[in-house]
């Protein structure tokens, strides 16, 4: 009896149950609503409607733009920080790293409210720079997610490889470009996917920093507020599709890289 209860298979039941309840079931509901109309009949109108409306497409582009710029800024800021921290011999290294991560311990809306006040101090009227403020807010929010994975990959990098590169005549910059950068690619990619995807939908930052233009998250919300669950579900589904595509793409690059890495 005891053996039966604690067999490995049975220990998985709670997780399976969890997956069914909170992943599968909502997904099925989402699919159902996305492909039906108000009368419960099958329709593709929600899908075609999304791709024929200049507003929804524009919103997709706008979200994409915000996410892309945020990711780029995060990467540009995070890489040097991660590199310096990982390669230096500061004894205070972990303290500095903690300083970057610490904001994550503070409630998110509190941080954005504080940022709002600081930005108001600098800019005066926030409403003049909605795009800039949004990117700043998101960068502030997501930067740790970019720093940590990059730091981890660079910290684990085998120093012998760099020495070998130098022995074989590579300059500092060349060694960085040929060895460090390609080998830190997995960290960059996981950082990018951790920043890019949430940045496309995190409308709370927009709302709090007075950007009145919808992004994907707010668009879905507005459909639900107008009782149009079908249109809203379809947009959520399309977003899910984009996420999947993105994940597959980064994984593809990653595999390509590890093969490339083995060649070195």
């Amino acid at each position: 009896m005891h053996k039966y209860l604690f067999s490995r298979k049975n220990l998985g039941i709670p997780y399976a149950l969890f997956l069914v309840l909170f992943v599968m079931a909502p997904l099925l509901v989402l699919f159902y609503y996305a492909f039906t109309n108000g009368q419960g009949e099958f329709t593709l109108l929600n899908l075609t409607g999304f791709f024929s409306d200049p507003n929804t497409l524009g919103t997709l582009c706008y979200s994409f733009g915000i996410a892309a710029v945020t990711t780029a800024v995060c990467l540009l800021l995070a890489y040097p920080v991660a590199y310096i921290l990982a390669t230096s011999r500061f004894r205070t290294k972990s303290v500095i790293l903690m300083l970057f991560v610490m904001p994550m311990w503070i409630n998110f809306s509190l941080r954005i409210t504080a940022l709002k006040e600081i930005l108001t101090w600098f800019e005066g009227n926030l409403a003049y720079h909605p795009f800039l403020n949004t990117v700043l807010g998101m960068t502030y929010d997501f930067l740790p997610f970019m720093i940590l994975p990059i730091y981890n990959t660079i910290a684990k990098l085998d120093g012998a490889l760099l020495e070998a590169a130098r022995d074989l005549g590579a300059g500092g910059i060349q060694a960085f470009l040929k060895v460090t950068l390609p080998l830190s690619m997995p960290g960059i990619l996981s950082g990018v996917s951790m920043v890019f995807l949430p940045a496309m939908t995190n409308y709370v930052v927009l709302d709090m920093l007075y950007n009145s233009t919808y992004i994907m998250g707010s668009l879905i919300g507005s459909y639900f507020a107008a009782y149009n669950w079908h249109g809203g579900s379809m947009i959520a589904l399309i977003l899910l599709g984009i996420v999947c595509l993105f994940t597959l793409l980064t994984r593809g690059i990653e595999e390509e890289n590890t093969r490339g890495g083995a060649l070195l």
């Binding site: 309840l21 909170f22 079931a25 909502p26 509901v29 989402l30 200049p54 507003n55 929804t56 497409l57 524009g58 919103t59 582009c61 706008y62 733009g65 108001t120 009227n125 926030l126 409403a127 003049y128 939908t201 409308y203 709302d207 709090m208 007075y210 009145s212 233009t213 919808y214 998250g217 707010s218 668009l219 879905i220 919300g221 507005s222 639900f224 507020a225 107008a226 009782y227 149009n228 809203g232 959520a236 390509e256 093969r259 490339g260």
Partner: protein
Amino acid sequence: MNAVAKRSVPGVIAGMAGALLFSSSVTVYAADKDSQKGEQTVTLRVCNWEEYIDIGGWDEEDTIDLDSGDIIGERSMIQDFEEWYYENYGIRVKVEYSTFGTNEDLYNMLTLGDTYDLVCPSEYMIMKLMTEDQLVPLSEDFFDTSDKNNYYINGVSPYIRSIFENNEIDGKPWSNYAAGYMWGITGIVYNPELVSEEAASSWRILNDPAYHRQITIKDNVRDSYFAAVGAIKSDLLTSERFRQNPDYQKQLEIEMNDTSKETIAKVQEYLQDVKNHAYSFETDSGKADMVTGKVAANYQWSGDAVYTMDQADEDDFPLAFAVPEESTNIYFDGWVMLKNGILENRLKQHAAEAFINFNSRADNVIRNMFYVGYTSVISGGDDMRIFEYADWCYGAEEDEEDVSEYDLGYFFLEEGDEGRSYIITAPSDQVYRQLFAQYPSGEAISRSSLMVCFDDEQNQAINQMWINVRCYNIHDIPVWVWAAAGVVMGIFLAAAGRKLARSRR
């Protein structure tokens, strides 16, 4: 109407799944009729706006010391009701109290299978629920004026009562199904140092270039629509000829609820302009931004306007309230009973109606108003305490020199009761400050218009208009952005191609 928009998408989805899975297993803990009377427990499921009822626990210093006696909220209104009900009717009632954030949230919750007995949506949602035949009519006993426990019918303001009786949907007056709770109008809170009263008294201020990026507007389609209609029809609505029309009230309502294609197109154009001029579309931040001086004016519901001005007063930062000349949106939140909650259970319905009555008792009305900040639909009838409370809040001190007489007859005066006067002698500035927002003047009320519940087709058109306003149109993307995106894309592709070619070699 304290609407903190909760548009959390994961929440909605999780809710959808949760509701589907669990709605069947929710046990309805209803009264068992066969059990002995003393042991009966009725469960009453109430759903109300967030922070819309007194939760008690007041400090001693918060005591409202009216001449007729002190009023203080020691325990929550819910607990007090449960006790009061047992004392009066000998039946235990257990209130399961929950809250919602917006009317649309509530409607979605109901659609997903949440069951409630008594809810408190705004008038247009009540109308929608009425047309969908989801409501239980109030019983005859509820309107029996001889029962002293019927505080609602004995205390509701005659002005509000006439609105509830004269507005019909499918031939049935609202009053058959709904009992009012709080009410208010829409207007503009402004900083008198930056904005003149005249400018704040028109909806046109929302896109006035003089206040570029200094005004916030409500982030919901109905409020924005109303303001926009007021602004684009400003000339007509403020003209003498229109005002003198014997059928003015009716005409005003027709104009303000105009959803013709041309009007929707004009509203869209107007709101796009507002978007380019406003500080932000806000759901809840407007109050704080007004108090901290980030904005010069703020489209606001009167109840929140009172709160905003109170907060600013604490910083010695006087703000004022104006009601646009064109028209103001008068709104109500009211109690309605739901069919699929009550399920023809008499005891339950009785408890629900008693809940409405208990919240309409003058001292409880005052507690709720003090805690919530909005204005109750109850004027008190023979009970003078609510007027006394208004006077306690806003009446001038005896040594005050600059005072004005403020007549609230339209709200408090019962028919056949002409002998009494309901005039507050208030400091003159109150005439365009908190008092004005809490109890708008008869003159402002004469310009008020209801906003009806639009049908599905109208809603669809208006929601599409709203999306058009709020979304970034793909045709607006400048050429240089397309070019830059193309270049970046090209670099990526080239890099990937080179890599691929190298790895093949």
